[in-house]
Amino acid sequence: MRIALGFLSGLVFGLGLVISGMSNPAKVLNFLDLAGTWDPSLAFVMGGATVTAFIGYRLVWHRRAPVLETRFDVPTNTRIDRPLILGAALFGTGWGIGGFCPGPAWTALPLLAPGTLVFVPAMLAGLWLGARASSLGILAPKGATQ
């Protein structure tokens, strides 16, 4: 059941990425190209997704617990710290170079474009390195726990 519903959730997310055009790096890069061939479509993706989630989350939070777990487990960290900003800046730079963020990279994988086949393993390597660096506290400011 968990597996089937996890798969279904991923499928809906993936269909959303492909139908919206977010899975196409050309469209993402054009969205980011305000001074050139600008394509504002992705603002509609983010808008549609965020508003839907905003309403849906509030409906879900009427429940005591999620359907398949004993409790909700959402981030409680509210600190705006150095790892957050540095990480987001690095991520945005990579996003601007390749036109892929993690979700679209996965949906692109079965289409086997050479660029995707290079991007995904590099992303996994980066994630692993980043997780190691975070756990070692290399970039954490004094007193931060994460």
Binding site: L17, L34, V67, E69, L84, P102, M123, L129, G130, A131
Partner: protein, 152 residues
């Protein structure tokens, strides 16, 4: 990167796709009580193949979720839909991009989905700060690559 082909403005398809993404985020919260952050889910997958610090234990649905993502374009093609995609062909650039995206989302604890969609829907200031930062970095990067270095 090198390709600068125009893409059509698709407000309705993009809005529809966006609603589906939001719906999936609601499913993940309602079913599993978690944030549908793809970088976090990917980290969960990574934890199943090699020891990765800070990976969550509930990996079963995360792995299934990733398979769902990969099945999406195939399912769409199976019912006769077209999946249009133009991936940059500069492989060195794509390697650097992938590394930065992985590193950045690990350090910043999230990406377009976790901080973007889910974080903003939760009205998290932390996520808003991340979104503003990665959007700004994306705009600047494309501007520099296309209009400063690219000479376009």
């Amino acid at each position: 990167m090198e390709m600068e082909l125009e893409t059509a403005f698709t407000p309705w398809a993009s809005l529809t796709g966006g609603v589906l993404i939001g719906l999936s985020a609601v499913m993940v919260l309602g079913l599993f009580g978690r944030i549908a952050g793809i970088s976090g889910i990917t980290k969960g997958f990574l934890g199943t193949v090699l020891p990765t610090p800070g990976t969550p234990r509930d990996r079963d649905w995360r792995l299934a979720f990733l398979f769902g993502l990969m099945a999406a374009p195939l399912a769409l093609m199976l019912v006769g839909g077209t999946v249009s995609q133009a991936v940059p062909s500069n492989l060195f650039g794509m390697a650097v991009a992938g590394l930065l995206v992985g590193l950045g989302t690990a350090l910043g604890s999230g990406c377009t989905s976790g901080h973007g969609v889910c974080g903003l829907a939760r009205l998290s200031r932390r996520s808003l700060a991340a979104v503003v930062t990665f959007m700004a970095a994306g705009f600047v990067t494309v501007f520099v690559l296309r209009h400063v270095l690219g000479g376009a």
